[in-house]
Amino acid sequence: MAIAATLFAASCGGSSSSSGSSASSESIRGQTITVLVPYAMPQKLLNQFTAETGVKVNYVVTGWDATHNKLLVANEANTYIADVAEFDWSFTGQFAGAGWVEPLDNLLSAKTLADLKNTDAAFVSGGKTYAACYSNDFRVSMYNKKMFAKAGITAFPATFDELATDVQKLKSSGVQYPLAIPMAATEGGVTPWYLLTLAMGGQLFDSQNNPVFSDPNSAGYKALQWEVDAVKNGWVSPGSVAMDDSVALNKFTAGENAILLATGPGNMPTANDPSQSSIAGDAQIGLVPGNTGPGGSFGLPEGLSIPVTAKHKAAAAAFIEWWERPENAIAIYKTQGSLPCGASSLKQLSDTGQLQGGDVINQELPHVGPLFPGGAPLWYAQFSSDAQGLLNAAAKGQMSVSDALNQLSTKTAARN
């Protein structure tokens, strides 16, 4: 089987057991590092790191938006917040430009950096790598095969027309709200719009990062109109307008919806884990629908960084090295849902048949592109924040699609 790993990386080294920071193994013993990441980690795994290195971990979990805001405040104030911190693809321009994070080129081993090379492009600025990718995230769709079977649907829809037909079949079979699409005024509430725009064959920005979504014929405009219609037509629950991505996943795994239109492939283990999901065994990955066949998608990888204010940088680097080791990255994937980034981790996942939905992921990858082909602009945080409010207002019917996108376009153009 053609495996995702082969697409991700040319270099497929075997399982690495090198910590990459052997020089620090003794000097870091007894230190305590703080790790600020928006996703939980089993204590058992953290204990393994402590047993191995003698470094204790204060693992702090807050939501993605809260993590972003905490990092901004601490960095702006030049105060310590963590030794290892979340680093989203959208942070690169601002955080690297402001000198808030350490380049990892000399802190991580060459082996680890090489293993991550194909997924770290989003974290490179000025030729330096500012984060080590830990969540190989891109958007795919997920569906409940049991609900599909009950509705007489044999395959996940490949086009939006087929999706419309299948939604009606699902409704007829008793699924009140077949689709789960988060539309709250949060970061997770705007990513479905990004996805739908690409899936409908368009882009949000041109090569100069000028907005191209206010024209009614543009994919961005059609995508938002599609979301608004999904609310009006009862394809999604009325509460979608106040729902963020984590709630959407919870509702899907609770069996309330048949299709989670935009999610990360790393959520598959969660959706099929009986201890976390009531639809375990029924969750399947589907290719994002498009106009005439599978549509475009985009990557939003997340990485681990070391803030310049970190107190224990060597220990932080050792933690990142430990996380990226295939056995740990795979264990984290299974429990936390972050699809690994390292080529060797992906290869091992595929070779051992542990990559859930691997075939579909493999098919989706050629359709995955960046949201900003020229790299995330400095104003991404402002754009995203504006989009959250305006798209949510359109979804609620408080504002027309045209007004919302015109306002967003005007604001964005003024910043570009």
Binding site: Q94, T186, S385, G389, A393, G397, Q398
Partner: protein, 301 residues
């Protein structure tokens, strides 16, 4: 005429007292300077400078540009209008209901202590917790309110209570009032208890009924309490944040000015405009506070 050595001794004592006074005050002054004055001065300076390299701008002094920007920003103006609604609705409801509750509780009845204890409960809850509780009520998909109204066949499909129109501001105000009403009621109750019974007895002898007593005795003598309740209620309403954030996030239709400050400063990383907006809010709050202080002074002199 005191002897010279006495005067010198007196001067020394006065000087020592003065030094001692300064020694006592200096730690507080340092704390205030470090925790209040310096952050304010830094914030003010930040509000007068460009956003800088975070937005690809040349760092530097821009005068009042950031203030002009936020005043001209339609979202900030809308947030200001929402805040005005929150204040007007919340303060009106708190005053009316607060007096009603206080008058009721002023009477001695069986179980009054229990009612007082229950009354204080919403005030004791952190506003985030009360927001979470009310979220369960307003949730469109699994909320208590929709479920109740659907069971009673008042509505036949779930209603999104915090979606559009003026309704969401009213509902969030009600949640806020639910939390603040106990405090306002206690302020009025304390005011009622300070009115001597003899005043009511004398008016009853003169033929005044309960309504006339309320209009001509209770309300005028409650004016100091009203000024306090008005001040507290306004300051709490103008800084409304938690309830909105928990119930409806940063959605535009319910965004208050403080949410806008938070969003601009932290979500958008735009510290320059965020602090400018914060200083505008502080100025408005200070003006309102001064007006209330004057009213309070007049009502008590």
């Amino acid at each position: 005429m005191p002897k010279p050595w006495n005067r010198r001794g007196g001067d020394r004592t006065a000087r020592e007292t003065q030094i001692l006074g300064w020694l006592f005050v200096i730690p507080s002054l340092i704390a205030v300077a470090a925790l209040v004055l310096y952050p304010m001065a830094h914030g003010w300076w930040q509000s007068m400078n460009s956003g800088g390299f975070l937005f690809g701008e040349k760092p530097g002094y821009v005068g009042l540009r950031n203030y002009r920007d936020v005043i001209n920003d339609p979202v900030s103006r809308e947030a200001m209008a929402h805040t005005l609604w929150y204040v007007l609705l919340a303060v009106s409801l708190e005053l009316v209901l607060g007096i009603l509750v206080a008058v009721t509780l002023h009477r001695v009845f069986r179980g009054r202590g229990f009612v007082l204890a229950v009354l204080i409960l919403p005030w004791a809850l952190p506003s985030v917790v009360s927001g979470v509780l009310w979220k369960r009520v307003f949730d469109p998909d699994n909320g208590l309110l929709n479920s109740l109204l659907m069971q009673l066949h008042v509505i036949n499909q779930p209603h999104v209570w915090l979606a559009a129109g003026r309704g969401p501001i009213v509902y969030i105000t009600l949640v806020h009032v639910w939390g603040v009403l106990p405090l306002v009621s206690l302020i009025f109750l304390a005011g009622l208890q300070s009115i001597p019974d003899e005043v009511y007895s004398a008016s009853a002898v003169d033929g005044a009924g309960p309504w006339r007593q309320f209009r001509h005795i209770t309300l005028p003598l409650l004016r100091p309490s009203m000024a306090i309740a008005l001040t507290v209620g306004t300051l709490l309403a103008i800084s409304i944040f938690d309830e909105i954030y928990v119930l409806n996030g940063t959605a535009l239709n319910t965004r208050s000015i403080l949410i806008q400050v938070y969003n601009t400063t932290f979500a958008q990383a735009d510290f320059a405009h965020g602090t400018a907006l914060a200083f505008l809010l502080a100025a408005i709050t200070a003006v309102l506070g001064a007006l209330y202080a004057i009213a309070l002074r007049r009502s008590t002199v």
